[in-house]
């Protein structure tokens, strides 16, 4: 069963990100000029403004940097409360806001190693696969 989620941001660069997710790949935009990664998706490199960007594959490995649990329902019942979120430092550098998969608030520890997983979701635009993180 696909999980209902609040709507994604749409647009050419965003749709490209989600298309990679649908193939089970976590890819972020890398800049040909400064070699740095941008996230969330951009039209020009967030570091140097470079326009030549390509979708670079990530290892999917990372560490938990921070976490919080929503006790206030900002999405009118779409998501159960409390709702766990984590901030993952990807091996390649960027910080990625996501959800814990297979663990929750009491098990979250700083710097715990995690690895990406894709779960079936849907929003107003249809089904999609969402990158979340499980204990490594």
């Amino acid at each position: 069963m696909a999980q209902r989620r609040p709507d994604r941001t749409r647009g050419p660069e965003h749709d490209a990100f989600w298309a990679w997710c649908d193939k089970g790949e976590l890819r972020l935009q890398g800049c040909a000029t400064c070699r740095q990664l941008s996230w969330p998706p951009v039209k020009a490199c967030e570091h140097c403004g470079g326009a030549q960007l390509s979708w670079e594959p990530m290892s999917g490995r990372g560490k938990v940097v921070s976490w919080c649990a929503f006790e206030r329902d900002y999405y009118n019942g779409t998501l159960p409360i409390p709702w766990d979120t984590i901030l993952v430092s990807l091996e390649e550098g960027p910080l990625f806001v996501s959800n814990p998969e297979g663990f929750s608030w009491p098990q979250i520890k700083p710097d715990m190693p995690v690895t990406v997983a894709f779960i079936d979701c849907e929003d107003a635009a249809g089904p999609f696969r969402l990158p979340v993180f499980a204990p490594a």
Partner: protein
């Protein structure tokens, strides 16, 4: 038609230091208005930006001792929509030759007004700000931030259920707890201190006593942040009357000179900059600009008013500006150094956490009272220099103020 300028903060420069002073201040009745908004007595009418701004303006004008005809500049800052500056001028019954539209949260509008005065566009600017946050049912999370112009961190992460301003501070606080071994009771001390300050402010929205036990028993909004870690949502307005410094002497109150300001924004890697750096690079850079412009240094600051969207973010600013070492901010608060009589009194009116959520304008109103030496039961003895600090999720805008002769 009066000439008008678009918003855009002028760069810090020595030439603009102390060229303008706050000579009038007016605020709405935050405490009474909040009670009325909660109780909704028969005949209660929701406030509008116009009604709030007019009320603050009349008080500021009376406070300044100036006449309506003296107002030759008008700056408007309506956070959630309002009339044009021209319409507001008519509404207030003033005929400014210079209008400054599209202001917003403190700090930007004040340096813009100071620069307009220095450039001779006007001599006396009435700056009106209003926000009817509660009246319009403003939400600070969920799908509020769709659309252009919002920083991506406010809207991008909906599919993961991560949104709201509180979520930013919650990520910082989880990280901070792990990095420095801090506890929830440590952070609660900040909420308790600001409530104590608010108890000496008869216009503060929240004046009931708050203990650490109350704090720990309060509900989580975004765990690990409790209700009392997050700023209020209330309606109100502030008016500041800002005048050319050489025309600000021999007025009813000591002039409050705008001595320096700064601006720094993060480029990329915003979440890392926010959570792990806690804006320190921006706070340092913008602070340096402001101190250089003012010809002052950190030890000169005797009073600090920081943008307390949350308890932890106030600590970020104290640490990031260098008043205390990273990780030492909560101990600083717990040992009473943020109280009046401490090493650096902070948010003496109660801030946005306990006094009023006026987007930094209330902090500058408090600085005005403190530097005039008219803050009554919460006066900091002999204060001459105050610092205001705006810090958002990716940028820093401090302003330094000095008591004028």
């Amino acid at each position: 038609m009066p000439e008008s300028t678009a918003a855009g903060m002028p760069p810090a420069s020595r030439e603009l230091s102390r060229k303008a002073a706050i000579v009038g201040v007016g605020e709405t009745d935050y405490h009474l208005d909040y009670q009325a908004a909660r109780a909704k007595p028969p005949g209660y009418e929701l406030p509008t930006p116009e009604s709030l701004a007019s009320s603050a303006f009349e008080r500021a004008l009376a406070d300044s001792g100036l006449r309506r005809e003296d107002i030759d500049g008008l700056s408007t800052s309506f956070i959630y929509g309002g009339p044009s500056a021209g319409e507001m001028a008519q509404h207030l019954g003033v005929g400014p030759r210079h209008l400054i539209e599209g202001g917003g949260i403190m700090a930007g509008p004040l340096p813009i007004a100071c620069a307009a005065i220095a450039e001779g566009k006007c001599d006396t600017v009435a700056m009106v700000y209003a926000a009817a946050s509660r009246a319009i049912g403003r939400q600070y999370g969920g799908r509020t931030y769709d659309g252009d112009g919002a920083p991506s961190s406010y809207y991008y992460y909906h599919p993961w259920g991560w949104s709201s301003q509180a979520a930013h501070w919650a990520f910082i606080w989880s990280w901070y707890q792990a990095a420095y071994g801090a506890t929830e009771a440590d952070l609660g001390a900040v909420a308790v201190q600001l409530r104590k300050n608010a108890q000496a402010n008869s216009n503060a929205v929240m004046q009931a006593p708050l203990s650490i036990e109350d704090y720990l028993a309060s509900r989580y909004i975004v765990r690990p942040l409790h209700l009392f870690d997050l700023c209020l949502v209330n309606d109100g307005a502030v008016c500041l009357i800002v005048r050319r410094a050489d025309m600000a002497r021999e007025m009813p109150h000591a002039p409050v000179l705008v001595a320096g300001w700064g601006e720094a924004k993060a480029k990329g890697d915003k979440l890392n900059n926010l959570v792990r750096e806690r804006l320190r690079p921006q706070l340092q850079a913008a602070g340096d600009q402001a101190f250089q412009m003012a010809g002052l240094s950190l030890p000169d600051v005797q009073h600090f008013e920081g943008y307390d969207a949350s308890t932890i973010h106030l600590i970020n600013q104290l640490e990031g500006h260098g008043f205390v070492k990273p990780g030492a901010g909560l101990e600083f608060c717990k040992s009473g150094e943020m109280a009046i009589g401490g090493a650096l009194p902070v948010n003496t009116e109660g801030g946005m956490l306990s006094a009023s959520y006026m987007h930094g304008w209330n902090h500058v109103a408090e600085i005005t009272r403190q530097l005039r030496h008219e803050a009554g039961p919460r006066q900091i003895e002999g204060v001459e220099v105050s610092m205001f600090s705006l810090a958002q999720t990716d940028q820093s805008h401090p302003i330094l103020f000095a008591r004028g002769a």
